[in-house]
Every structure is written in structure tokens, then in C-alpha cells.
């Protein structure tokens, strides 16, 4: 690192904060969606599933464009947001949260749906048979049974939210000190010839992602102790 050059840590903290909030939102909305997809049958269910998956395959710019149109100052949603919070949504760090959410939630919904579907139906039947309401069944039986795969999915969503570039750039922009997330900061650093700062941030993001993926892997193995060896 050349003398005098310092690394701006703000993008890293912003990214962590944005990823944490968007993961929390993704868990709340995604679990609900996943549960519906796994347990209810209705017309257009597979269309809904496809729509939820769409952000995984669309180019980030396309997704970003849709969000700009949907949340921009001219749109009803953007207008409502401005009325409630007193400022526009786009090109703020909150917009980065929305970007991360759309970037990461589909992954969570996919894995959570698979987790819900893997729960043996007889546990849910047993709970209902024993007088449990649907709410109690969900909190006391279904959710604990899928706790590990859901946490793993949450970890993956967090890692993915941390890495969003395109959607964030489209709707939150690249405002240093305000909306510049770590992925954008790295791009900026490389473009601006600040290779040293880019290297440090690249290494930190890689290490974080590796740690999160390791955690996710440990979560998905070995639920409820060793199955074969009885005491």
C-alpha cells in the first residue's frame, strides 16, 4: 500500500448492515412464501414459484430497471414512500436493502420450500391430531424441524446480499459515504487505480463468504444428533 493511502471502511460496514437487514426481511417474507408454496395448492402456484425465482436468472440490470420504474419518484409506491418517510427511496441506502432483498430472497425461498417439503407429513398430522392449531404447529413443530436448513438458507442469502452489484448500482447508485457498498467500492477502486484498497476489500469479502458458506454447510448436516447410534 502506498504511504498515505487509507482504505475507506464505510462500504464494508454499509454492506454488512444492508445484508443483515435484507436477510431479516428475506427470512420474514421468504419463509411465509416458501410455506405457502410447500403446503397450499392453488391455481398459478407454479407461476408464483417461477416469478419468485425470476430474479435469480434475470440480468441485474433488468431487475434494477424494473425496480427503478416500480419504486422511482414518479411511481405510486415511490410516491407513497416519500409521503411516509419524507424523502425518496431511490439512491439511498434503503434502496440498497431493497436491491439486496430482490437479489437474495429467491435463493432463500427455493431452499426453504424444499426444506418445508422435506418434513415428514406424519409430524404435522400428529400435531393436528394432538389438538395443535396451525399457528402452534408452525412454531412448535414445522419450524424447529426445518431450523437448520432454514438458517443455512439465511446464511446463503446473507452472503449473496453482501455481494450484490448490479441491482444496487441501478437503484441505489454509487454515492461514496452514502450508498457505496463494498462490491461497488471495489469496482471503483480498480477503476481508479487504487489496486491496494481493492485487494484488501476483495480478500475480506472472500474470507467472509467462505466463512458463511462453511457455516451453512455445517448447519445442513447432522440434524438431531447421530441417527444410527442409540445410547
Amino acid at each position: 500500500m502506498p504511504p498515505g493511502a487509507t482504505i475507506d471502511w464505510f462500504p464494508l460496514w454499509l454492506s454488512l448492515r444492508v445484508a443483515a437487514i435484507s436477510t431479516a426481511l428475506a427470512l420474514a417474507i421468504g419463509l411465509w412464501l416458501a410455506w405457502i408454496l410447500a403446503n397450499r395448492s392453488f391455481r398459478g402456484k407454479e407461476v408464483l414459484d417461477a416469478a419468485v425465482t425470476l430474479p435469480l436468472v434475470l440480468p441485474p440490470t433488468v431487475l434494477g430497471y424494473y425496480l427503478l420504474v416500480l419504486l422511482g419518484r414518479a411511481s405510486p409506491i415511490g410516491h407513497l414512500y416519500e409521503l411516509v418517510f419524507g424523502g425518496p427511496l431511490v439512491f439511498t441506502w434503503q434502496a440498497a436493502v431493497v436491491a439486496s432483498l430482490f437479489h437474495s430472497a429467491p435463493l432463500l425461498v427455493k431452499s426453504a420450500r424444499a426444506a418445508f417439503e422435506s418434513v415428514d407429513r406424519s409430524y404435522e398430522r400428529a400435531a393436528r391430531n394432538l389438538g395443535a392449531s396451525e399457528v402452534r404447529l408452525f412454531w412448535r413443530v414445522t419450524l424447529p424441524l426445518v431450523r437448520r436448513p432454514v438458517l443455512a438458507a439465511g446464511a446463503l442469502a446473507f452472503a449473496r446480499a453482501l455481494g450484490d452489484f448490479g441491482v444496487t448500482l441501478m437503484i441505489a447508485g454509487n454515492i461514496p459515504g452514502r450508498t457505496q457498498t463494498v462490491a461497488i467500492a471495489i469496482y471503483d477502486a480498480v477503476e481508479g487505480g487504487n489496486g491496494a484498497a481493492a485487494r484488501v476489500l476483495v480478500l475480506i469479502v472472500s474470507a467472509l463468504a467462505l466463512a458463511i458458506l462453511t457455516l451453512a454447510n455445517r448447519l445442513t448436516s447432522n440434524p438431531f444428533g447421530p441417527r444410527q447410534t442409540a445410547l
Binding site: 409430524y123 391430531n129 395443535a132 392449531s133 424447529p144 438431531f224
Partner: protein, 356 residues
Amino acid sequence: MIEVRIRKQYPAGPDSASFSLDLEFRSSAGVTALFGPSGAGKTLTLDCIAGFVQPDEGRILLDDQILFDGAAGVHVAPRARRCGYVFQNYALFPHMTLRENLDFAVERTPRLGRRRKVAEMLERFHLTEVAGRRPYQLSGGQKQRCSIARALIGVPRVLLLDEPARGLDAPLREELYSVLRQVRQDFGTPILLVTHDADECFALADEMIVLREGRAVQSGPPRVIFDQPASVDVARLLGLYNLLPVEIRSLDPGRNSSRLRFQDFELTGPYFPGRLIGDQVWLLVRPDQLSVAPRNGRPAFNQIPATLLRTVDRPERLRLEFSGDIAVEVPPAAVEKYTGVKEWVVEFPSAGLRIL
């Protein structure tokens, strides 16, 4: 008291034939066994009673509550039915200890009585020492007892058991039977038991209903059904008889006798009222009603020559399987001096023969 009249239709799928359940029965206190081969609709019947499956039409009445009425549009939610269900795989919640599994079932009752109730159940089913363990740390018998305790702790109005003895070895099976007899005596809860094991019906059931392809083909006390199967189908399902195709050659009501032709041989039996000479019927005889002797000259009265195909060792009894689909069960001592003999005569009693 439970009264069931249900109809449920499943259209043929891409890889399944169509199936229809059309069943009517009632049972009061005691143990009622739903007996039949797999695919007869036994578990489906339990699922309809528990409310997991909604029948197309009919009525299910438990004590004085209508659980289901197709015409009136009544379908009580499973959680409000108070039917104890013991699942085939026990369905103990794997993330809870045994005690928590029982707690879950009484959470709606007042807190004060809860602990005592759970402790009482654990004690009664000999589970107190392992109450803090998770299901994967329990033996098959303990899981079995826990699932029965969990089903009973909420004081259900009927106890539904889906193949409870499946996968248990002989000692555990005996233990289960004695637990169920105890439950029957102590709780007075009517028990509805699904099984494909004829011995189990004998061991436990006060009444049995024989199911085949979604229909009840016979019902009554097990003893009566085993003595008088209503049809060849029922006899086959019970799997306890020799069923031999015979033709009636003569009938003599005066001497209470008849002559039956089996392959090239003639047997003498009792008079069969309501039958005609020339009828092709099935002769029904239990393996232990027959006796055997090594073949020696011409077969004597009511004896048929047969070739021994194989012997199967059973505790107490030896099962000999002969050509012509004849099986004979004798005490091992009766034949042990004839090892290696292939050609035998099988002797039929003339009094105990029945036809279908």
C-alpha cells in the same frame, strides 16, 4: 361408540389404478381390528376418521358428535376430533424429548394438572427413566409405548392404531399386546386397530372387519370368522387354510354324508345342505386338521397320496407342504422317525370338512 359410513373415490392416476373405498361399520368398547391385505383401504379408513382425508360422502359419528357428514357439509378439523392416533412410524417429534412430546399433547389443559398427568403417563408406560431422551435415543419398544402414551394423554374418545406391530420382533410384539390389553382394561377407550396379521386379530380383537379392495367382506368376532369364513376370498386373506378344488359326486342327507372328488381321488365328508351334485366347490380344511402317514400300499379310507415338497419348522408344530397345494401341520414327534420319506398319504377327517 363409533359409527362409520364412508365413500371415497380415487380416479386412476398415471401409475396407479383407480380405488374406491365404500365402507360401513360401527364399533363400541373393546378392540376392533380392520384386517386386510395392503391396499385394502385400512389406513385410509383411519385417516378419514382422524380427519386427515375427507371422504366424498357418508357420515362419521363418534359418541354423540358428528365428525363428518357429506350431505350436511360437516367436516370437523383434525385438531378438534379427539381421536388418538398411533402412527406407523410413531411420528414422535424428533426435536423434543419424550417428556416434551407428552407435554405437547396436553398443552391445552390447565397448567396445574399437566405435570402430574405427564408424570403419571410416564410411570404407567415405564418411561420415567428415559423421559429426558430424544426419540432417536430410544429403543423401538420405548418409542412404541411413548407414542401410545402421547395418543392417550389427551383422553381421546377412540384410539386409532396403524399397524402397531409392524417391524417389531416377537418379544416386543408380545409386550405391545400386553400394553394394549392393559390400555383396553384401564382406559376403556375403544380401540380401532389396522393390521394385516391374522394372529394379531386373534390376540387382541373383540371384533374384526375383513377389508378387501375398499369393501368390508366379513365382520364379526375373530373366532367366528376363522371358523366360518364367508367366502373363498376371506379364507385366502386369512391364509390359514388348505383350499382344495373339489366336485360334489354324491350327497346323502339320510346318512349325513357326501362324496367329494379331488383330483383322481374320492373323499367322504358330511352332508352339505343347499348344494347339488356336480357343484364345483372349494374344500376348506385347516392344516392341523389333517394327519399324515408314510405311503404303504393302497391309500385307506379318506386318504390321498401326496409327495412331500418341503417342510417348514415352526415352534411346536412342523409344517409339511405336499403336492396339490396341501399343507399339513403336525407335532414334530409324529413324523420324526420318517426322515427322508417322500411319498406320503394325507388323511382327511370326514366330520370337520367344510366347503365354500
